[in-house]
Point group: C4
Chain length 277, copies 4
């Protein structure tokens, strides 16, 4: 499903060179570009953060806003360059990375209408994931893939678990609303559900907490349940990871006679029909 | 122990057809019925939730109540239909799903006497579990069973663990009641036990917290204990899940020609020399 | 190290009979005794709890106190009976169960001097563990042993882990005391250490929380650390449990020729010297 | 990379003797030195703690300060002795243990300028790790190494995980700042990020908590995410620990007489028929 965005071999030479600088990190120029991008993103995120601090905003607001527009312009230019350089602009624009690149610019424009949206520029942080490759990360990519693979393999189990948790949280939330009688912060069912989530995940802000004896009893049951069922997602992911580590990797050769796959790594003959592999 | 509720083969034709629509999702009609039910449940739960929000209730209360009664009537009709269609109405009514179906109607009637009980209609959420089959869930059912099986296999261990936690919580609760001298929210032993549950599960609302030096010391010990023993249920479930996964993958047959072992479970020929096993 | 407390075979007959009733649950009489004890303990714990609730105490205080003394007298009699019946009274009195039996009486006497200590009678809860055998618990004992064995096998790892956590908590506590400048609840190093425990265990009451920017940054680091290192005790216990499950149990027979142990469970010959076992 | 600091064999005899007393615990004198050091450290840490408690400081402040200076002088002398005794003073001074030894003295001097820094003397707690060897800790060292090895082997996975958490926390923090509109404690993006850390780690102080419906919804999602992804570091460490434990236990040799397999790794004879393997 990954659509090739690298320029074809008969694309103009400058395009292929620019692509390798902007999109890859194999050449010295490409590496330098990525490192520059890395620091630019970090700085621009820092500027957005500082701008949100009132005391700093009051003193340096105008300067910060200029710097912010400078960074936004830079990223806009970079985005255009990426669009020009790739083989299929639309494929890039609609890829996850392309969407993040786009979202890193657009809040600045939206801020002309709705002031607060400027702070969403912080989504640029996600762009850091793109340039992680500048670190020595043969390791990191592999390890990241290990985690993602394990999570992906357990996605159905986790969804079943989350469905059960959500159902539980809705039912307990309504129960607490009735038990506490709309008092003590349990002012509506949605709010009681929010409380149930805060409780079952063991976050426990304490902004809402039961005051009746029955409510505290029910809450205790929910807490102990939450404490026990944390074991479920942990068990799922751990068992998956442990299994990924110890699974014998099969030889991915297809028998030309019976089409059997999954031969032992050291197999010389097909396990199903006995034909020489 | 599962008692067959599907109409026998010599039941009238309309009954068998109705059963397959209402109880199954294999036919297009059955699927459509389940999808309609799914949205009806979601909507009716939403209405109950909205009704509990005061500002919404004040404005749209009467309308919401009409809609709610409409849904309740619908579910009552559906319940009757299910009773009529099954082979043994009592077996259905006493099955877990049948009880949930019943409890999805009854709070509306109870609300005529006790107003607050109306909100318990939210128990309809549990009915969603019934119609989960409308999604592609060959996967989901299997994964759900995997989780349930693992929990079932560890039920004795988890009960032992919970007994130990309960005993600990009662003893520490009473101790804190004595140490804090009935002050700082520790106004009775049951309340102190509630605090101990809040603490050992790491929820930590902060509505009750120790103020004396001795109390804070004791609380610290309880917290670190709670932090450490979370490992126990997690370990139990994880070890169980890991064990369920690891099945013997090799056939323990020795090739009579080359004496190779560790063949695939379904192998018919030796992977090393190709001889018939 | 377990010292035999069962009366010797030439003890008077009534003593052996009484022992089997009081200490064992194999005979119908022994079972009845244990069941009676079970309910007596539950009731007496309930009475202590109720007594601590002020509104109940004001109304029924005198009655509850009478009932409590009745139960205490009962347990005192039972303790005496146990002392009389066993072979070595001192061995019983100093065994863990004997100490718990003793502590279930003594707070009532201490209460004559220091009123609050009466509530420590709740330690009777621990006696419930003694009579768990009245349930069908071939299972429970085995499962409990599995958990205890796993924890025992990991005790050194857990102690190393706890030492590291304690050191971290002390250092971070002092650091926060300096950073927050004795303000915002961080009024002394011991109190700051209490805060650090509350934070690293993810309990988070919120009775003390950092207000300075530096303090919040440091707290964030501590939280993420606490979030990550919860993995350590969990990993230790889980790995231990998984290993206990899959470890091949060896035949505990010593070869009479070469003294080798750890033979395969189905071994007929010594693995080291080939001698018939 | 470990540079040898033990005096060479042709160093003066007193130096070698002093080294074995101060740095090692194999001789009776060395053990006595370590035990004395252990108690000195504990006492000096206790003094620093007591000094930070205001009520105690007001009464015994001057005495405590004298004791503190006495301990500091002692540790300074010990540090000098270590410098004199080792082969390469610089190598020792720059080793982790050497740095900790140095940091255990320097805050006392810094306190002449900046009063609060005196409390950093508590860093002496870390020195306890040095003298842990005085306990029987053949076990402890091994177990500690097991934990450290497992964490070291999973360091890349954990860093990937932490990068993902940090990115998530920054983005969600900014989102909440916009959603709550700078109200309810979300006064700046850094503060909102602090809140996000408090929430995703399930600490949940409650000093900042969302009040808008949208904010509470977003917070619920974050909490459930935090609840689920705790499974990731746990899975990583557990799978690593489980893998380190599972060593191949059987010898894959086939007995030429009875064709039995799965012999002990060090077996010389067949366990089934006793034949020489």
């Amino acid at each position: 499903m990954v659509r090739e965005i690298r320029p074809s071999d008969n694309a103009p030479r400058w395009k292929r060179a620019a692509y390798s600088v902007i999109f890859e990190a194999d050449t010295p120029a490409g590496r330098r570009f990525d490192i520059a991008l890395f620091w630019t993103i970090l700085l621009s995120v820092l500027v957005v953060m500082l701008e949100s601090v009132q005391t700093i905003n009051q003193q340096y607001g105008p300067y910060l806003r200029v710097v912010e527009w400078f960074f936004t312009a830079l990223f806009a230019l970079e985005y255009l360059a990426r669009l020009v350089v790739v083989r299929r602009p639309l494929a890039y624009a609609l890829s996850p990375l392309g969407i993040v690149d786009f979202l890193s610019i657009v809040p600045a424009l939206a801020a002309l209408v709705l002031s607060g949206s400027r702070y969403l520029l912080i989504i640029r942080t996600l762009r850091l994931l793109r340039v992680f490759r500048i670190f020595k990360l043969g390791h990191f990519v592999g390890e990241g893939e290990f985690i993602v693979t394990a999570l992906h393999a357990s996605r159905f189990k986790i969804m079943v678990f989350l469905s059960a948790v959500l159902t539980l949280v809705v039912v307990v939330g309504a129960l607490m609303y009735v038990v506490e009688g709309g008092q003590n912060g349990f002012t509506s069912i949605p709010k009681s559900i929010y409380w149930a989530v805060v409780t079952i995940t063991t976050v426990g802000y304490g902004d809402i907490s039961p005051h009746t004896v029955l409510g505290q009893g029910l809450a205790s049951v929910l807490m102990i349940l939450g404490y026990a069922i944390i074991a479920v997602p942990t068990g799922i992911v751990t068992a998956q990871m442990a299994a990924s580590r110890s699974t014998p990797t099969y030889k991915q050769v297809i028998c030309h006679v019976c089409q059997a796959t999954d031969h032992r790594p050291d197999a010389e003959f097909c396990w199903r029909c006995g034909e020489k592999l």
